[in-house]
């Protein structure tokens, strides 16, 4: 009977994927994606993850996990698997899976959707699950530590350095997304500003008024956030007040930079922790709301399955379908960052090794589903509207008339009146060239949510979506800056000991300033770039995230081989090989492509030539030297990422070769199994 049901799931899934892939025509219903996804996740979870747990990792449910052995009532706590699943999912699901698919939709809905589905089931879920398992077997050690213990010092330091770099790029690009969402939007800006005092208020509440009462404080905070969305609307309608919140990109970038620095040096209970509680509540709530809306409404997708931009001429970012769809959608398909949470925090909660499957593989499947929802939310828009919102003025022209003409000439008709009406409906001054992904996603979410839960509130839904995205982008920004600060302090501690003390204020200020200067620089350049900056920063982020994933998969492969499991090592080696191909190709093109919309060097050279010839308008000539320097710096950065990746791969291959030859390698670092496992677990 069960076999028949799973057979049916497989057939329905294959039918849905086939239907998706072969469909050509006006529009397709999103139910095709939902059904295909449901079947693929179910099969992947039921069969592939079970097989990996049993045969590759050899999970042993009688073995005592570190949560039980080292239980301290704080970080090592044996936790019900549903709770651990919730914590892990809340930790891995950030703004990445929302923004990536939004940008990759320029290729049409199909390429991104297929990559999200298969990349997750065969790559991302496997990475998260195997790293979680290996770290659980090693008392919750971090990825970098596991690399040093098992592969060698080189791999370990490469992993650490890679983590720091990806953090800087990640924060810069997310900061840019927020800045672009706030630009000349008094409603959005005042709402996002209001989230800061609200978080501080909740922080004080949880420390002094009702210490540690997280639930009631969060409930209060979320209510205030919703009021802030409504209040933003009132500000926007007020002739005088609205001018206080109507900013250009530059001052907003400075605001984000100063905010990030402040959040990193303030005590966590005041801003970071309460903001995180609020953003987690909003995140889980909104994702649930969106899931209901997508399933209930199952909207038609108006974007074609595949657009002409697969040839590399896309307006949102340059580059062909291969490799750039696999770079643009990192989170949602496979995200190296997850390996950092899966090693460290979550392993200390695992009550039984058999739970690793659900928590590691299952959470990532759910995150992948979130990415699909984002894909559905933006591809239900008229493609003309989608491109008008996301294409930077440098590509389509600075005026509304020029933009609609260019976009319509691509075969995606859109008119200035239509865009104006849409902007009015959303309560925005304009929706042209609102790059970064957040506004277009918010428009899509608003259409979806308002059609499911009340049509009259379109502008409220739009700004709710903006606030929702901004709140957890700013959380990632705070938390990332802080973690980056610890890394820098750790490093500086080697140079001069006092600098390594995490609570010595001069060191806190210095290291925070270094980190903020790092991402602040890229953010600022992104803001002054007439092409919007996203087209440079997002691929950079994608490459760094995929490189980190490849590093994690290398470490997993190395450990599997060392454990004598060469036969099954393809489970991680195959996605590793794919990522190595994708990131190396993308890195090569980003550095050396003669196409100025792809290659950093050729873009820098072309701009330098124009500058020398004096053919740039005065405004562009002012920023040109900075942009030229930045593109060359980006090229160096990409090379560094690629070199790090290949160093780690080479180190892993060396280990595998030594194992095959029977030469000695570093001893395994797995914590020994303790006897009496079952009794200990039962109590």
């Amino acid at each position: 009977m069960l076999k028949v049901i799973w057979g049916l799931v497989a057939i329905v899934g294959a039918f849905a994927v086939g239907g998706l892939a072969l469909h050509r025509g006006e529009s397709i219903n999103s139910m095709w994606i939902i059904v295909a996804a449901g079947c693929i996740y179910a099969i992947g979870y039921r069969f592939y993850s079970a097989w990996i747990a049993a045969k590759v990792l050899v999970a042993d449910e009688t073995r005592v996990t570190p949560a039980i052995r080292l239980d301290n009532g704080r970080d090592f706590v044996p936790t019900n698997r549903w709770i651990a699943f919730g914590h892990h999912f809340a930790a891995i699901a950030g703004p990445g899976p929302l923004v990536g698919p939004t940008l990759a939709a320029q290729f049409g809905y199909l390429p991104g959707t297929l990559w999200i589905l298969f990349g997750a089931v065969l790559g991302g879920c496997v990475q998260d699950m195997t790293v979680l398992f290996l770290s659980t077997r090693r008392d919750g050690r971090s990825l970098g530590k596991m690399a040093r213990d098992e592969i060698g010092a080189i791999g370990g330091y490469a992993a650490m350095f890679g983590t720091l770099m990806i953090m800087i790029i990640l924060i810069a690009v997310l900061g840019l997304v927020v800045v672009n969402a706030m630009k000349h939007s008094p409603w959005g800006t005042s709402t996002i500003f209001a989230t800061i005092p609200i978080a501080v208020l909740i922080g004080l509440y949880m420390r002094d008024i009702r210490p540690g009462r997280v639930l009631e404080a969060s409930l209060l905070g979320v209510t205030l956030l919703l009021l802030a969305v409504v209040g933003g609307g009132l500000v926007d309608k007020h002739e005088v007040l609205r001018q206080f919140f109507d900013f250009d990109g530059k001052p907003l970038a400075w605001f984000v930079i100063i905010y990030g620095f402040t959040a990193a040096v303030l005590p966590v209970w005041l801003l970071l922790a309460p903001r995180d509680y609020l953003s987690t509540f909003l995140k889980l709530g909104t994702i649930a709301l969106l899931a209901v809306a997508v399933v209930v409404m199952s909207p038609d997708l108006k974007m074609p399955a595949v657009t002409q931009f697969t040839d590399g001429s896309g307006p949102i970012f340059g580059g062909k379908l291969f490799p750039f769809v696999f770079i643009t959608i990192a989170c949602g398909a496979i995200s190296g960052f997850h390996a950092l949470v899966a090693s460290g925090t979550t392993p200390k909660l695992i009550m039984n090794e058999r739970d690793v499957r659900m928590i590691g593989y299952g959470s990532m499947a759910l995150e992948s589903a979130v990415a699909l929802m984002a894909m559905i939310a933006v591809t239900l828009l008229d493609p003309g509207v989608y491109f008008a919102i996301n294409a930077p003025p440098g590509v389509v022209g600075a005026t509304a008339a020029a933009a609609v003409e260019t976009i319509s000439s691509w075969g995606f008709p859109v008119s200035a009146e239509q865009m104006h009406a849409l902007a009015q409906e959303m309560g925005e001054a304009t929706l042209f060239a609102r790059t970064g992904g957040a506004p277009s996603l918010a428009v899509g979410m608003a259409s979806l949510l308002s059609s499911a839960f009340g049509k009259s509130l379109m502008a409220l839904w739009y700004h709710f979506a903006i606030m929702f995205e901004a709140v957890f982008i700013l959380t990632t920004l705070d938390a990332g800056t802080r973690v980056g600060r610890f890394m820098v302090q750790d490093f500086l501690g080697h140079i001069w000991k006092p600098l390594g003390e995490t609570s010595w204020y001069p060191s806190v200020l210095l290291s925070s300033a270094l980190i903020v200067a790092g991402w602040g620089y890229f953010l600022y350049i992104g803001v002054i770039d007439p092409n919007g900056g996203i087209n440079i920063l997002w691929p950079l982020f994608g490459i760094s995230n995929q490189v980190l994933a490849a590093i994690a998969l290398s470490i997993v492969t190395g450990i599997l081989v060392k454990q004598g499991n060469l036969r099954h090592a393809w489970v991680s080696a195959l996605p590793l090989a794919w990522l190595a191909i994708v990131t190396t190709t993308a890195s090569w093109q980003k550095v050396f492509s003669p196409d100025v919309r792809i290659g950093f060097l050729s873009a820098a050279d072309q701009l330098a030539e124009k500058l020398a010839a004096g053919s740039l308008p005065a405004q562009a000539a002012d920023v040109a030297p900075q942009l030229i320097f930045n593109q060359r710096l980006d090229a160096v950065l990409v090379v560094v990422f690629a070199v790090i990746l290949w160093i780690v791969i080479a180190d892993t291959v060396r280990i595998c070769w030594r194992v095959a030859k029977g030469y000695p390698v570093l001893p395994g670092s797995e914590a020994p199994a303790t006897a009496g496992a079952f009794e200990a677990r039962a109590t």
């Binding site: 709770i83 930790a91 997310l174 966590v268 950092l340 949470v341 990332g480």
Partner: protein, 59 residues
């Protein structure tokens, strides 16, 4: 019905770490009852410091 509601509530509390202090007290009682115990406020502040010293959130 009431039982289910209670379990759902307990689940939500644990998911949000609303019961972290009670859990700490229980652990403290069981593991080292002779040591001094932290108050609710100090425990909360300590926990936040510990929690935010590592990577807690992804992109």
């Amino acid at each position: 019905m009431r039982n289910t509601a209670r379990r759902v509530w307990a689940f939500i509390r644990e998911l949000a770490a609303d019961n972290a202090y009670e859990r700490y007290l229980a652990h403290h009682q069981a593991a080292h009852p002779d040591m001094p115990v932290l108050g609710r406020r100090d425990f909360y502040l300590n926990e936040q410091r510990r929690k935010w010293s590592g990577i807690q959130r992804c992109c």
